[in-house]
């Protein structure tokens, strides 16, 4: 990406450029919308939340007196009488990563003022998120049906159920919040709020396509977190 043009400010490259930006007045991140910077800082904080969850999980899994259940058995699906490990989760991960792709395209077409295309891509992203949450609900109900609960687990250590439901639940909440915002933003895009600069209902801030990019940051983050959860729960 090329640097933005700022009157009276000369961009330098590399670490010298970073130091010069940090030492300059007005803004630290040149040409970056405040909302984008704010989302990045929020995501940094959220990273610490998920890190605390996952580190607690590692500690909990490492110190249970009863053995941890075997993930390739617990998470397997029966297809035509054959037990296929990690089938559902592979599909879920694929759907979520794909929705990241549609999100990135929505941001691109938003900035290119292709309003309708941007809106449809946002809806596709929301649909991807919804599918993910739906499949997660299916997996939860399958495990609950087999007797796994937050406080008990027929396959081994009871902490398995506790950590699994808590962490995937927390992540699923993130996805659901993302879906809600994607739907609202899709509506706002179709209605042209970002083209006319219509003020937000609550915030009274003028609409701008940068909002879609900010939501995109959040959505990519939620996907990235899922990759870690996937690795720690399903592959370990």
């Amino acid at each position: 990406m090329s640097d933005p043009k700022i009157e009276g400010y000369e961009f330098k490259s590399g670490f010298k450029g970073m130091a010069a930006d940090a030492g300059s007045d007005q803004t630290m991140f040149k040409g970056v919308h405040w909302g984008k910077a704010m989302m990045w800082i929020f995501l940094l904080s959220d990273t610490f939340i998920f890190s605390c969850f996952l580190i607690s999980y590692m500690k909990g899994r490492g110190s249970t007196p009863i053995d941890w259940p075997n993930p390739s058995k617990v998470f397997a699906l029966e297809v035509g009488g054959v037990s296929v490990p990690l089938l559902l989760i592979a599909i879920m991960t694929f759907v979520l990563i794909t929705s990241s792709g549609t999100m990135a395209l929505a941001v691109k077409f938003g900035y290119e003022r292709k309003r309708k295309l941007c809106g449809w891509l946002l809806l596709a992203t929301a649909l991807g998120g919804l599918t993910f949450v739906g499949m997660q609900a299916f997996e939860w109900s399958k495990l609950i049906h087999e007797g796994v609960r937050p406080w008990t687990n027929p396959f081994g250590a009871e902490q398995f159920g506790s950590f699994f439901f808590m962490i995937t639940g927390f992540h699923g909440t993130h996805v659901s919040i993302g879906v809600i915002f994607l739907s609202i933003y899709a509506y706002k895009t179709f209605a042209g709020h970002y083209d006319t600069g219509k003020r937000g209902w609550f915030t009274s801030i003028k609409g701008d396509y940068v909002e879609i990019e900010i939501l995109g940051l959040y959505w990519h983050f939620v996907d990235l977190v899922w990759v870690f959860i996937f690795a720690f729960f399903y592959l370990w």
Binding site: I6, E7, G8, Y9, A22, G23, S24, D25, Q26, T27, M28, F29, K30, G31, V32, W34, G35, A37, M38, I41, F42, L44, S45, D46, F48, I49, S51, C52, F53, S56, K59, G60, S63, T64, P65, I66, P150, W151, A157, E158, Q159, G161, S162, F163, M166, F202, T203, S204, I205, K206
Partner: protein
Amino acid sequence: MSDEYDSNKTIYQAQSSETISGSSGTVSPDMDHVRPAEVSEQDLYHGHSFISKWVFCQDAKVIGVQYFLLATFTGIIGLILSWLMRLQLGYPELASFMTAEHYYQFVTMHGMIMVVYFLTALFLGGFGNFLIPLMVGARDMVFPYLNMISFWMFFIAVMVLMASFFVPGGPTGAGWTLYPPQAILEGTPGSGMGIILMLVSLVLFVAGFTMGGLNYLITVLQARTRGMTLMRMPLTVWGIFTATILAMLAFPALLVGGLMVVLDKLLGTSFFMPTMLKAGEILEYGGGSPILFQHLFWFFGHPEVYIVALPAFGIVSDLISVHSRKNIFGYRMMVWAIVGIGGLSFFVWAHHMYVSGMNPWFGFFFASTTLIIAVPTAMKVYNWILTLWRGNIRMNVVMLWCLGFILTFVNGGITGLFLGNVTVDVPLSDTYFVIAHFHMVMGIAPLMVIMGAVYHWFPLVAGRFLDEKLGKWHFWITFLGAYSIYFPMHYLGFIGVPRRYFEMYDSPYITSATGMNEFISMAAFLVGAAQLILIYNIIKTLKIGKRAPKNPWKANSLEWHTPTVPPEHGNWGDRLPVVHRWPYDFSVPGAKEDFIPQTTPPSEVVHTEVEKT
């Protein structure tokens, strides 16, 4: 000595760093140039009704005052709880209405209220909201709506916390550290609704704080005015900014730990619950790790100490500089010390857990990091003292609080060296020595800064001076009283009086401890009551106080240079200020007055030896 003083004075003033050679006295046409604005003007939502102007207000200054008042309200509740505790400890025969359960509940609520709902909310929510936009030259926080929600989340958090006093079983009595398993097991007071409401309130507080904290950080990073570089910001802003970063990274651990305790309590999970026996029967819980909670809690808990301390460091630096008419000694060193303390504070948490059972090498590591923090902290203390040295000190109430702070902070810091070393800590842990240490270093010391800041900035908020005479009474009673409370506690700790005990029973140290406990309690009642002087002073001042002129302390930083006093919504009228220098150009040799505001362009001060900033 006195002859030498005058002749050398100018040399001490301008020696500390590079100066612009202004003696040539030439005014070049582009010397006042500041590059144009990068971002367009912020468009603000102006309230029209009483509700949108004063209740659900989006003006950071009003939100700051709201935070201040609500935090003070909870602080007064915390103070009353401490009175009840002192009544029990000093005069148990008068406190027959109190049971041991009540005592534990009061200890817990006092601790949590004072640390989180009073000091954190007051420094970051109160001073942060009021001062950051004014000091960096912004019209408001970057996202005023979110800022407003932040306060109302805090309001709900406080209401939930207060509600826990009225539920069956009362508030939690687990100690402010809320350690499971005991926090959620029957037998601990408030192990039912009390602990749940406490944790819900904390989660709400963290959510609300995150909204505010994002605003503080981004306002500092992305919304400074023209000419305001990071290294021209007042140290107040640096302190609040760094503390906010700490909070954004430390509160997640509390949030996660809190959620897991709630699940242990409500769903019967066993994150923190090992296999336990109760009345001969094995409980349903099993396989969890109580130490894990301690790690999560103190990963939050130790940075929390610096979340309270760093804004205090920053504010006191500004107050000392203004009221001794000298630039702050070693500004850059002060900034890096704040940042360094902030960074190190994430690597010391397990010094709260020396007696919890850890690998001895961990104790070695955490003792080392803890003692390393003393280096930047000591640098700051030296710099405050060197700022005062040969300054033109105004011995007013603000300065008294600052001096009180330095003394108290050094005192509390030195006892910290005792507790930071594993071998010394083990016999002292869970005694009154610990109480004395942390009350000195993170209770009284930041409180003194708050008091100084109230006397300093009150003319800006209300346009009137607080009464100096009442202020001096307030200071001396609080200062001497606080020492009467906490000095004897060091001794109580050395003779082994344990903390959090409801009564002392027939222990061998009872004879020497009883008289001292009565004395401490008397002092505590007096100090608490002395705070009424401040409240009276504020009410009196609002009605008949002396009107403050513009910039009454002759300070340089931007908040005193708004077109209207008190500043209105949008802060700066038609035009944003343009900054040409740091806020510490006091007593510059050659200048007409002993201060040069940040907005003064270089062409007006060509004959002076101003610092190059």
